[in-house]
Amino acid sequence: MSLAAEDIDVTRDRRAVLSSVRLTLSPGECVCVVGPNGAGKSTLMLTLAGLLPVARGRVVLDGRPLRTFSRREVARRIAFVPQQYEGFGGFRASDVLAAARFAHAHPLAAPSEADVRLVEEQAARCGVSELGGRTIGTLSAGERQKVWLAAALVQEPAYLLLDEPTAALDARYVATLVRLLRGERDRGRGVLVICHDLNVAAALGDRIVALRGGRICHDGPPAEFLTPERLADVFDARFRLSAVDGGARPLVAPEF
């Protein structure tokens, strides 16, 4: 059981974005993807979510090629929280959460009691219970992010893919999010997160995967990756590392 990219190449607008990428996400593990801008992180995530085709290789979901699943079948197993949204169309937060059950219900069925309960539970876990009646357009960027995360959890996926979920969040909610995603991992979900914040990646990831120029240049535990040499190699920048939590966790800061 896993979600795996097997030696994939991906092109976008006739430009090779990913080359020979191999990555496996297993249930119950959290993998953070890091890398400089334009390295192909979002493309990798879209491809793993089945939203972009591969030019070579294949994506395999629980032993079956992803392309053999219908979109509804994929949505019952993989939830994807993109970095940016195209628009809101006047929908309320509660509409967004209710619509996230789409893949689990008949197209004409009204929401079941279990669906309603699940929506309320996930809204409470993500701290958006009070936002239900507000239109998405009136929410702050952070509040929106929480609503989209709650919607992804309402999908009850085996694999949760998040593209820079901390980008619009304040420090307090970043900590909440890290705890929440760890909790999802502990419940047996495979969690893949694109992170620009290396400290979040270090705190959250069981593994860190580093992309550079469309290729994976590191895949291993955070402690192996978070060295000044490796960081300089991936980001073309100098970093300073110190230790917190009595040396158990590294703290990364770029040198200015």
Binding site: E73, A75, P82, F91, D95, A99, P107, E120
Partner: protein, 344 residues
């Protein structure tokens, strides 16, 4: 997490409004209708009974069906293109139908096909269907069915059709040119009960397809990426919704000519009333359209009589265009242009 909009109450009110329209609108006109004329049924012998049952009831019913169909189709187009300015006219469907009808009038093909189907209706339908296919083909070849390409292809076909209609008007004799111009103004009293019964199967089939897709339309409105990741097959849903809404529009335009702005104005108002969720929005728009167009037609049919006793009836398209234009000026003053385009 409660977020109840007063959708149920608004729907009930719109239902009552549509019902009241169907009951009251046929009573209004230059000939006074009495209770006996109504109760005598279609077989009644008085002139008033004949006017009521053979002219006004089919006319109001056609207006209600056309209004409901155009409004619901407008909602669907706006959702699949995520653009509240998308409607049958901006997508070239109505222009194609108009070109078909203009060709019929120019060539003098105004008889019946197979002894029952008016050739003009058939040509308008073929024109609309051709437009749909051309727009869809361009979008597929050029942009894999993307929303923007479809919309731009529709606008382009609209321009081409308009150019061809102008050419036909130029080449036709003056009476035929007048006929083309009159047809292009839109009217709900051309085909009587026969037109109504020809339109119902298309409207019913389109409504069934669109209702089946209502949850997918919600997600499409939230964005392609969101829709895909929630399990919507975006291309298939967009194609099914596009063809269903286009065929309903084609069937209406073939009977009534192009009646502009119903597909824009009514969805705007109903979206403000019941919100964007299609489970409420589609029936609300259909009911509002069924109430809106018959009253526009009552005004169009009686305005000159009310003003100075003239028996002349103006086409309903004049009223809908006028209301639509004024409504958009109001919107422009009330909200920034960008908000109208982006948020609806």
């Amino acid at each position: 997490m409660s977020a109840s909009r007063n959708g149920g109450r608004s729907l009930a009110l719109l239902g009552l409004l549509a019902l009241a329209t169907l009951l009251l609108a046929p009573l209004l006109g230059s000939i006074r209708i009495g209770w006996d004329d109504v109760m005598s049924g279609p077989g009644g012998e008085s002139t008033a009974a004949q006017v009521f049952w053979r002219l006004r009831v089919p006319r109001v019913a056609m207006a209600a069906l056309a209004g409901a169909s155009l409004a619901a189709a407008g909602c669907v187009f706006q959702s699949i293109f995520r653009n509240p300015l998308a409607e049958p006219f901006t997508l070239g469907v109505a222009s194609g139908a108009s070109l078909g009808a203009a060709i019929g009038l120019h060539m003098g093909w105004t008889g019946l096909l197979f002894g029952f189907l008016p050739v003009m209706t058939g040509l308008a339908f073929v024109g609309a269907a051709t437009s749909i296919m051309v727009v869809w083909t361009i979008a597929r070849v050029r942009g894999a069915g993307s929303a923007n390409t479809l919309l731009l292809a529709g606008v382009a076909i609209g321009f081409v059709s308009a150019a061809m209609i102008l050419l036909l008007e130029f080449l036709s004799s003056r009476p035929v040119t007048n006929e083309i111009v009159r047809w292009l103004m839109g009217s709900v009293d051309r085909t009587g009960a026969a037109g109504l019964f020809e339109t119902i199967p298309f409207a019913a089939a389109g409504a069934a397809v669109v209702w089946y897709l209502h949850k997918s339309l919600d997600l499409l409105m939230m964005g392609e990426l969101v829709a895909s990741s929630r399990g919507v097959s975006v291309k298939r849903t967009r194609a099914a919704a596009y063809f269903a809404a286009s065929l309903v529009t084609a069937a209406v335009v073939a009977q009534c000519g192009p009646i502009a702005f119903v597909g824009l104005l009514v969805p705007h108002l109903t979206r403000a009333l019941v919100g964007p969720v299609h489970r409420r929005l589609l029936p609300a728009a259909a009911l509002a359209g069924a109430a809106f167009l018959p009253w526009c037609d009552v005004v169009a049919a009686n305005l000159l009589r009310w003003l100075h006793g003239s028996a002349l009836q103006i086409p309903v398209g004049v009223i809908t265009n006028l209301l639509g234009g004024l409504f958009f000026i109001y919107l422009l003053f009330r909200r920034p242009a960008e908000a109208i385009v982006v948020d609806g």
